[in-house]
Symmetry: C2
Subunit: 415 residues, 2 copies
């Protein structure tokens, strides 16, 4: 007898047949006696259809009206699921963001949740009803409709789970959990039973697009156990929770290998090694709306230094252009760029307490003849920039080196 | 400098191009200095699409959720029009029924408006904004979304005009006004510049489906001048107002000829002429959800009488079935039915003060050899049931007899 918040994404409610499937799943949880709050996305493709209508009018339409428009997508699915539940004899009631009331700030198209009124939901749960809530949307203090931005339904799910102190927030999606790395690259990638919020944040920001990153931050902040599961096949999925210190002994050193192909490297070489020089280089890049990922500056032998950073491949030329006059002003020797690079990272809370993780990583890469161009580290992550053509090899090598490979499906006796 | 409430139907906002057209029209009214509240329907076809989705789940889905679902249709168009107005530099703000707040009872899918909060709209108008309101929808006192039933956007328009004491409620549609009769039947049918609420009610209920009948009742009750115009061509349309007594002299006796092809006649013959007999016959018909239109009972020579009524053609067999045992109980001689009939009516407030209108009508029909099977009259209407094959002939004959024919487009000198 638990209270679960279940969030189903656009693919999971992409047709009437699939909505009926969600209703069946909800019915089976109800049959087990659980209380349920269900958060839904719009049918897959619907949000893009609505944006397409708006963009026939104007490329950047009024943001307030954009929210009025796109919030209809979830309103459709909550009504349809509630109907499907009622057909099964399950009492259910739909709520728009405004009806719940999910109060947000007034930053249309990217609003942040400020408070959730749980009174109506609690009354419905107490009356034995399934509560069906539109994800991705809220209202500001004046009753204007707001939306939380792309993927915001995950955030709605976590926020409702936090407000209701739910036992678990379950995110149903089209993958069956979080993997040690991308199974398309490493055949023996394993689904993780458990991962910490911190690890998930590093994995998500590095390209494992299973969960919206804001929802993971939110879940971590309010300690909401978060589970990623498949809408389409049975299984336990992956549970994302706090790092419980006393379990560290049993934790693997590295939980997963993340990577990002979409990196390009820009080096400003031979600049004076004086305070403020990095800011002088990066400020105009940021001002040009170019996102910078890895930044590395090394100590110098003479009075000059090199600063290297990475950007999305598509932004590289723009970044170099922006830096030309800045480089001249600083007396830089040259500006070099390279878009044939990629980033590979090992992630794991276990590395905090284990020395030698970095050297094990570098040794494994060296054994395959992979040269490391840049290195950055955080408490639970080590990232390297390498030549792009070595990416798959590096991921596979590291996956094996850190003991992440799944047992072969057909087990063999070992010598 | 007037305040107009303008309502645009589904065809008028059926595509982005047409929404841009509405924005142009609104812009031209703004340029003339008028204040505007615009009420919109859903894009044509959208409400049916949404109902279709629901009916894939269940034939009669939960009515509360049905309202959540279909109300998204208008929410889409109000957002799109507001964007299109902003693109033109016109400040505009959209409102759902709940945001206005249009308070209704809780009869989902056929709710009635109880009160309208005009505070937000007045503030926006005072600030020079165009207010864009979703038609067809409201909220009950608990914040549940309700809808007013098919054609309810007209009612929203009139209700807002009444609440705001607007100078005129303008209904933009795909016809350019109310005609003396259906132009497809009578080539020389004329658009009326003016018609009274009462006449319009009789015309509408008799098949001139220009306006939703509830909105005309509402407009009459609150004395809101109502104008029907075309979204697609310029013109003054038809103004629907109170009957101003002192104008009666100048009014035509008959304003229009209405007709209804979808009538079938059922006669219960030879029943005892005692009190309560009509009720005994009509009660089971009503209980079977069959709508009865004309009812005629004649005085009898002996102790028996005949009761005749009309129903929609599709309901005739059902009505006869329902009456078989009732007829037996009452000792009726026989039950006869005929679905080859039609109804023709002349409508006009002028006939109140003119004797001889009926005889002029019957004489004109007789001159064409058209036999009258039933007659009913009201203060401003005379209806006859005739053989269906004479319908067009009867309408043309009466249109001419009451002086409604338009001048030929090419004028000839008269002798």
């Amino acid at each position: 007898m638990s209270l679960f918040v279940q969030k189903y994404g656009g693919t999971s409610v992409g047709s009437i047949e699939r909505i009926e499937g969600v209703a069946d799943r909800v019915a089976s949880f109800r049959a087990q006696g659980h209380d349920l709050v269900v958060v839904l996305s719009a049918m897959s493709g619907e949000t893009n259809r609505l944006i397409g209508l708006a963009q026939q009018i104007q490329e950047t339409p009024d943001p307030r009206e954009m929210d009025v428009l796109v919030s209809t997508g979830e309103q459709v699915t909550i009504a349809l699921l509630s109907m499907a539940l009622k057909k099964r004899g399950i009492d259910a009631r739909s709520y728009t963001g405004g009806q719940v009331r999910i109060l947000t700030d007034n930053s249309h198209t990217k609003a942040r949740i400020q408070a959730i009124d749980d009174a109506n939901m609690r009354a419905d749960l107490a009356a034995g009803r399934v509560v069906v809530v539109a994800g991705f949307q809220g209202v500001d203090e004046h009753g204007n409709i707001t939306t939380l931005g792309r993927g915001g339904s995950d955030t709605t799910g976590v926020a409702l789970a936090a407000a209701l102190k739910a036992d678990e927030c379950q995110i149903y999606t089209d993958v069956d959990g979080v993997y040690t790395t991308d199974p398309r690259v490493v055949e023996r990638a394993r689904r993780l039973d458990k991962i910490t919020f911190e690890e998930m944040l590093e994995m998500a920001s590095l390209g494992s697009k299973v969960l919206q990153i804001r929802s993971v931050e939110f879940a971590g902040k309010y300690n909401v156990p978060l589970r990623v599961l498949s809408s389409f096949k049975e299984g336990q999925g992956t549970l994302i929770t706090l790092d419980e210190e006393n379990n560290t002994m049993e934790q693997p050193i590295v939980s997963g290998i993340a990577f990002n192909r979409d990196e390009a490297k820009v080096t400003v070489a031979g600049i004076p090694d004086t305070p403020g020089v990095a800011a002088k280089i990066l400020a105009p890049v940021g001002a040009a709306n170019i996102e910078v990922d890895v930044i590395v500056q090394n100590v110098s032998a003479d009075n000059t230094t090199d600063l290297t950073f990475t950007v999305n491949k598509g932004d590289m030329k723009k970044a170099v252009g922006v830096l030309e006059s800045v480089g001249k002003d600083l007396g830089a020797r040259e500006i070099r760029s390279d878009d044939k690079v990629a980033k590979v990272s090992i992630v794991g809370v276990g590395m905090r307490s284990h020395a030698g993780v970095a050297s094990r990583m570098f040794t494994a890469l060296a054994a395959d003849g992979i040269n490391i161009q840049m290195i950055t580290t955080s408490e639970i992550k080590i990232s390297v920039i390498i030549e792009e053509r070595f990416l798959e090899l590096a991921v596979r090598t590291l996956h094996t080196a850190f003991g992440l490979d799944a047992e072969p499906t057909e087990s063999h006796t070992k010598g």
